[in-house]
């Protein structure tokens, strides 16, 4: 259900269309502020919503909430964000719209998603090899930050 709503949100705001995203990022060219409005609107709702959710002892359907708890700014955060920014700037797709665009069966989108999945798996393998920083939570839980 949440996936559907999120999906409709991306659709209506046209964030699934890379040209809209790149239009926003093209600050020095023809600028399309739409992405900014999308983010602002989403934040307006999520700020209030999260405040409410945090005030509850537990979620409605799950035993507990998994609030991210890390606060430090470390190299992985900075480097990761930079790498993501480069990839995002190159094509104009971030994970959400990329997955949603699979519905169009576009070959390049499929290639992108496969490459993205590969990149994620690559990171997990690299992390397990011990090259990444120590993680303090259970090995089977995936780090969802933010």
């Amino acid at each position: 259900m949440c996936g559907l709503i999120f999906g409709w949100g991306l659709l209506i705001s046209e964030m699934t269309q890379p040209t809209k995203v790149i239009g926003f990022l093209d600050v020095f060219g023809t600028w399309d502020p739409s992405l900014g409005v999308v983010m602002a609107a989403a934040l307006a709702v999520s700020s209030i919503g999260f405040r409410y959710a945090a005030s509850r002892a537990c979620p409605v359907l799950a035993p507990k909430s998994l609030w991210p708890s890390r606060t430090e700014i470390d190299p992985p955060l900075v480097i990761g964000a930079t790498l993501f920014g480069i990839g995002w700037g190159l094509v104009g797709l971030c994970p959400g719209p990329a997955l949603e665009n699979l519905a169009t069966l576009s070959p390049r989108v499929i290639a992108f998603v496969v490459a993205m999945a590969f990149g994620m798996v690559l990171h997990r393998i690299w992390q397990k090899r011990g090259a990444g920083p120590e993680r303090l939570h259970a090995p089977t839980a995936v780090m969802i930050d933010g």
């Binding site: 999120f6 999906g7 609107a41 964000a81 995002w88 780090m143 930050d145």
Partner: protein, 142 residues
């Protein structure tokens, strides 16, 4: 010069995105960070496969429902170069996992919690992406 600005649809869509993130947290206690959700789906031994797969299914079904309602989804404009597509994909996949989130995880959810990590991450990937677009559009002329 400002062009293609669609504030109303952007606002409506944004509200839905925020709503979805709120509902996921309220009901399931999870951050709606798509990169994390996809990673959970890909994690063969993980415990988060079922709800994350369901979320992604919903995400992909959304355009199909829209088509049925008479609003077919536009094909996304992708670059011609396959190499570019693949390189960008790998960067996004690796980068989001290393950085711990993407525009939804850090941008919508993290910033809503006033998380310093998320604000910094969002600022970094926004700035980087802006530079990349500026370079590719105005310097290299792509």
């Amino acid at each position: 010069m400002i062009a293609n600005f669609t504030p109303v649809s952007a606002a409506v869509g944004g509200v839905l995105i925020g709503l979805a993130a709120t509902l996921l947290m309220l009901f399931n206690g999870r951050v709606a960070g798509i990169s994390g959700i996809l990673a959970a789906c890909l994690n063969l031994r993980g415990s988060d496969k079922s709800w994350s797969a369901a979320f992604i299914a919903g995400l992909i079904l959304a355009p199909l429902t829209a088509s049925l309602a008479g609003f077919p989804m536009q094909a996304p404009r992708m670059p011609d170069s396959w190499t570019l597509v693949v390189v960008a994909g790998v960067l996004v996949g690796f980068g989001t996992r290393l950085g711990g989130g993407c525009t939804s995880g850090h941008g919508v959810c993290g910033m809503a919690r006033l998380s310093t990590r998320s604000i910094v991450a969002t600022a970094i990937f926004m700035a980087t992406a802006i530079v990349v677009v500026a370079l590719s559009r105005h310097v290299i002329g792509a």
